[in-house]
Each structure stands twice: as C-alpha cells, then as structure tokens.
C-alpha cells in the first residue's frame, strides 16, 4: 500500500477551490550544476526515480506549472481576474528528514499562463522520497461576502503531486498490496456499504485493500496525523483491527497456494509464507515451514489447528493490545 493510494479526499473548503486546477510536471533535472537532462516519463507516471544517482550534492529540478483561464475564473472574483493576487509555488516535502520548503513560481500576480520554477534539493536534506505539491494561494486580504477566498494564503488551487525517489528505499518498498478508498455503496464491484474494508483478490497477483468511504468518521480518523492524543491512538487501533483481518486473509490464501515443493506462484504469497510460517511451526527452515503450512491447510482435521495458529501469529505480530493500551492511557485518559 503506498502513501499515494491512502491519501484521503480533502473535505470541501468554505470558498472556491480547484483541487485539480494546476497542471504540474517536472521537465528536466540537473545534478551538481551539470548538463540538464530531460525527464522522460509516460503521461501518467508521477515518480522520477533518481535513486541510481550517487554522490551528488545538489539536485535542481525544472518544473512547469500551468494555470488555466478556467482556474483563474473559478477561484478569483471577476474584479481580480485581470491581475489575480496569487502566489504560485511548489511545496517540497521529505517525510524522512522532516523537511518542508517551497519553490516559488510567481508571487503577487498570477494571470493564466505557464510558469517555470526550480526546485533545489541538497542531498544532506533529503532521503527516500521527496514530494512536490503544486499550490496556488491568495496573497492579499479582500472584502467581500461571496464564495471567493478573502484571506492571505487561502488555498485556491492544487494539482497532482510529483515524487522524486532519491534512495532505493523509496523505490523498493511499494508495499505488499495496493490500497484505495472508495464508497462501497456506489461501487459495483465492492461489497455492501456496511463493510469497513474489503480485500480484493480479483487480481490474484496483486491483492488490493479497499477502505469504505461510506464511513467518513472512520476514514477521517484513519487520515489523522500525529502520534499522540485520542485521534491518533484511535487511528492506530482501527488500523490494527483492519490489519488483523487483512493478514489473516493473506496468510490463509497464501497457505492454500503453497505447492508440493513449498513454492508459491506470486511474490506476495511467498513473502507472507516466509514471514509467518517459520514462527508458526517453530522452525528456521522456510521450506519445511511452507510445507507444514500446506499440509495443515489441506487437512480437514487440521483446519481448526491452522486457524488457531494463524490467529495466534497474527496477534503476536499486530500486538493489538499495544495500541489499545495507548488509547486508554493517552487517548481516553483512563
């Protein structure tokens, strides 16, 4: 599950905002002042993988932001559209290094046009993956009882982010399964709206976890930031609840897929078996563990034992009590 797939939709703002109003791309990059290199990605690719670069100190990314007439008309009142008081920039974030900065493209006046900006990254400041988010905000206060933003820095428009992988870790950890949020009630291939989540095996090679947006209070908690306080602790308890069910399903499915040689067809099945089975059967030999898992899964009399083993191992892994105790101690103060 990637960070991108888990991003939740922003609740509506109390003024005009166009969350897809900026067309944003990375055009070129330059390493340590060298020759610019063109970025050659397919239209839907949003990650520039520069993990193979080594020993660089400074990386310059030439980016392009297109602000359309339609977006200007949508987010600025008519009286301001000839000379829209905006600030157009790219927010630069690196989660691993607790780094947030910005690269300005225009400040003060933002008529519809194509803008260029340069994002400069120092290797010492980044690690893993760097996120680039385009933004248009207001720069001045205004009077007006209408639907348009009136405060400085109010969000006016955004666009699809871009990601730059600067280390292998950012590239090598795409996650075992994909994840996405959707309203089950309005999505034909997802089960009823009462479900909180659904593990989708239609593509057996790449399972997908769906979180039900029909429960907005739950999905808002899942999107909570921070690590202490009621909301954060509740989020972790919910995540544990979901992952208990997810791991259990993945493990049982993988068990059923082990062949007579202890092998599986898909990568995710192999990783699940290798991760859990040795501890379930108290052996260091992954092949032996896989075969014992297969044996128990195929034995009608063994299914009860297998269910117990799976539950015990998943509990041991998830440690649901840890987050529950944190919720009690720090979230609910009981």
């Amino acid at each position: 599950m990637t960070r991108r797939s888990q991003r939740l939709t922003r609740s509506s703002l109390p003024f005009q905002y166009d969350d897809d109003g900026l067309d944003f791309s990375v055009e070129r990059y330059r390493v340590d002042g060298g020759e610019p290199r063109e970025v050659d990605l397919s239209p839907h690719e949003r990650t520039l993988n520069l993990a193979a670069l080594s020993d660089w100190e400074t990386l310059e990314l030439s980016v392009r932001l297109e602000l359309s007439v339609g977006t200007v008309e949508r987010v600025f009142p008519e009286t301001e559209r000839r000379d829209p008081p905006g600030r157009l920039y790219v927010a630069v974030q690196c989660h691993d290094t607790i780094y947030r900065d910005r690269a300005l493209a225009a400040d003060g006046s933002t008529p519809a046009s194509v803008y260029d900006a340069t994002v400069r990254l120092e290797r010492a400041d980044v690690r893993g993956e760097v996120e680039l988010h385009p933004h248009l905000v207001r720069v001045s206060e205004r009077e007006g009882d209408d639907e348009y933003a009136d405060a400085p820095n109010a969000r006016l428009a955004g666009g699809d982010p871009f990601y730059v992988a600067v280390d292998d870790s950012a590239v090598d950890e795409p996650g075992l399964i994909d994840g996405e949020e959707a309203a089950f009630s309005t999505t034909d291939h997802l089960p009823g709206e009462e479900r909180l989540y659904f593990l989708d095996f239609r593509n057996e090679r790449r399972p997908k976890l769906w979180i039900n947006a029909d429960h907005p209070r739950v999905t808002e908690v899942l999107a909570a930031e921070g690590s202490v306080g009621t909301e954060a602790r509740l989020r972790d308890v919910i995540v544990d609840q979901i992952q208990h069910g997810v791991w259990t399903q993945l493990l049982l499915r993988a068990a059923a897929a082990v062949d007579a040689d202890g092998e599986t067809e898909h990568d995710w099945q192999a990783t699940v078996v290798e991760s859990f089975a040795p501890e379930m059967y108290d052996t260091d030999d992954p092949t032996e563990a896989a075969l014992r898992l297969r044996e128990e899964a195929r034995d009608g009399d063994g299914l009860g034992r297998l269910a117990g083993r799976v539950d015990a191992e998943v509990q041991s892994y998830v440690e649901p009590q840890t987050q529950i105790v944190k919720l009690l101690e720090e979230g609910l103060d009981v």
């Binding site: 599950m1 927010a91 930031e225 202490v228 990568d267 995710w268 990783t271 998830v318 105790v325």
Partner: protein, 293 residues
C-alpha cells in the same frame, strides 16, 4: 504495507515492522548486523569529518529490547549487541566523548523524571551530533544511542508507565518527533536553533506543553512556522499554548503552510493569542517596538 513506525501511520497504512518490500522481502531488515568489513569499530572517542564513530541498531536488534531491559532490570552486554550493529557513515562532526560526559552529568545532577533535563541536554545532543538531516533520518542511529549508548539516560528521564510507552522512548524515531528520548532532543534543537544560538530551543523546553502541542503536529516540520510559533508562545500559560496550537492547526485546513512567510505565521498566531487571552492585538505591536528599541 510499510513500516508501522514510519510517518506516524498518518495515511492509514496497514502494516508494521514486518513490512513487505518490493523485493518480496517481509520483516524489515532480517539479515544480521555485521558491518561490511565484519568489524564493529570503537564506539568511543571523537570523530571529525566522518568515519565509523556512529552506528545503527539494525531492525532485528529491536528484539533485544524486552520488558526487563525497559524497566532497567537487565542490561545488554557488548557481545549480545554487536551482531546487531552496523557502522553508519556520515560526513558530520561527532563528539561522543563530550556527549557521554554531559549525559552522565545531567543524570547525576537532575532528579529522575525531571523534564528540565531536556533543555539542559538538547543543545549538547545537537552540537555533538553535528550530522545532516539525511543521517539523522536513520532510525537505527537513535535506537543505538538509546539502547546501547545511553539507556541510563532514557530511564532517568522517562518513568516506566507501560511497556509500549517505554519502548517508544527507546525504539521510536523516524518522523515521529515525540518518541525516542534522544531523537526528540536533537530534532527539536534542529528545528529551533539559530546557528549557535539555542535560546529558542531552551524556551521551548521550558514549557512541556509547547513541546507536546507543537512538535507532535505536522506543521512543526515547517521551520519558519515552528520557529515563529515557539517565539510567540514563549511565556504564555499552557492553556493558551493548547488553544492557540489547536486553532493554528485548524486554520491550516484553509491556508497552505508552505505558502506562509514568517510574518504570515506570526500574524495568525498573534491574532489567536489575542483572542484566547482577551488582549488587544496592538499589544503585540508595542512589544515588538520595545524589543526593537
């Protein structure tokens, strides 16, 4: 699924330490912790301009940290720990001898569980571990410092309340600023210092409500924002700190943080303080003028 302790699970990840990588590997770093040359180098002394004076505790080494260790009932000897250490290359300026000496001093001079030790030690932690953010982003560094080098400091500063809470003080890190006992000191100093001037850092640690309410929030990662917040909240009662940080966090649903200059942040924070404390906004202008004169 990715690492549980990465990024505070803010995006609702399902996963944990036993993360699954694209190479089909589950369980984080399950290989041993020997360095490439098979040696674990000296863990004492000064290191200037890079070297192997810093180590990381590899993920598998976390299993050494049991409840008895967290309670201080057992210690880890070198022989046990060494297989789980890897040299951490860096190009910073590291002075572990001074750090060790200062840690011993504050443990000796301050009562157990005394929050004031944070401000006393934070500048030293930051100055003696003069490494880049890229290096400081390695969780294993902080796990090594807490578990191997300075466990007595962790237990002296933090009272055992539960296994989970204490594990966080030893094995937290990453972008969760409020977890690992040493990591939090370094990062708060990193985000608030001004060159060799740590007065802002000291101001933060004088009020633990500022530490709790500012540095556990995502907005604390934006340096201009967090610095102004800390400056403006210094000296105000905890109730004000709590309410103003809540309001600031709420304001960020409508405004975009990286778009804000220092003065934008200052204006928003001052307006909130004025509202919360029922004082005129002009009071802040007067105090600014008197500071300038």
């Amino acid at each position: 699924m990715s690492e549980r302790d990465h990024d505070g699970r803010e995006d609702g990840h399902v996963g944990g330490d036993r993360h699954v990588g694209g190479d089909g590997h589950v369980g984080g770093d399950r290989h041993g912790g020997h360095s490439e040359d098979g040696n674990v180098h000296s863990r004492d002394g000064n290191g200037h301009g890079g070297g192997t004076d810093l180590y990381r505790l590899v993920p598998d080494g976390r299993r050494l940290v049991g409840d008895a260790f967290l309670r201080g009932e057992t210690e880890l000897d070198d022989e046990t720990v060494e297989p789980f250490l890897e040299p951490l290359s860096h190009d910073g300026d590291v002075d572990l001898a001074t750090l060790s000496s200062e840690v011993r001093r504050v443990v000796r001079e301050y009562d157990a569980y005394e929050p004031a030790v944070d401000g006393e030690l934070a500048p030293t932690v930051h100055q003696t571990l003069d490494v880049s953010r890229r290096v400081a982003a390695e969780p294993g560094l902080w796990h090594w410092l807490a578990v191997v080098r300075f466990p007595e400091f962790v237990r002296h500063r933090w009272q055992y309340s539960s296994e989970a809470a204490m594990r966080e003080k030893f094995l937290g890190a990453g972008s969760d600023l409020y977890s690992n006992a040493l990591h939090r000191l370094w990062w708060i100093a990193e985000l608030t210092h001004d060159g060799d001037d740590y007065s802002r850092t000291l101001g933060v640690f004088e009020n633990q409500t500022v530490v709790n309410k500012v540095f556990d929030r995502w907005f604390a990662r934006y340096e201009p924002g967090v610095q102004v917040l800390c400056e403006e909240l210094e000296g105000h009662p905890s109730s004000t700190v709590e309410e103003v940080t809540n309001r600031f966090n709420h304001a960020l649903t409508n405004v975009q943080l990286e778009g804000m200059d220092r003065e934008d942040v200052r204006r928003v924070v001052r307006e909130s303080i004025a509202e919360v404390e029922g004082v005129p906004l002009s009071q802040f202008d007067e105090s600014s003028n008197s500071e300038r004169s």
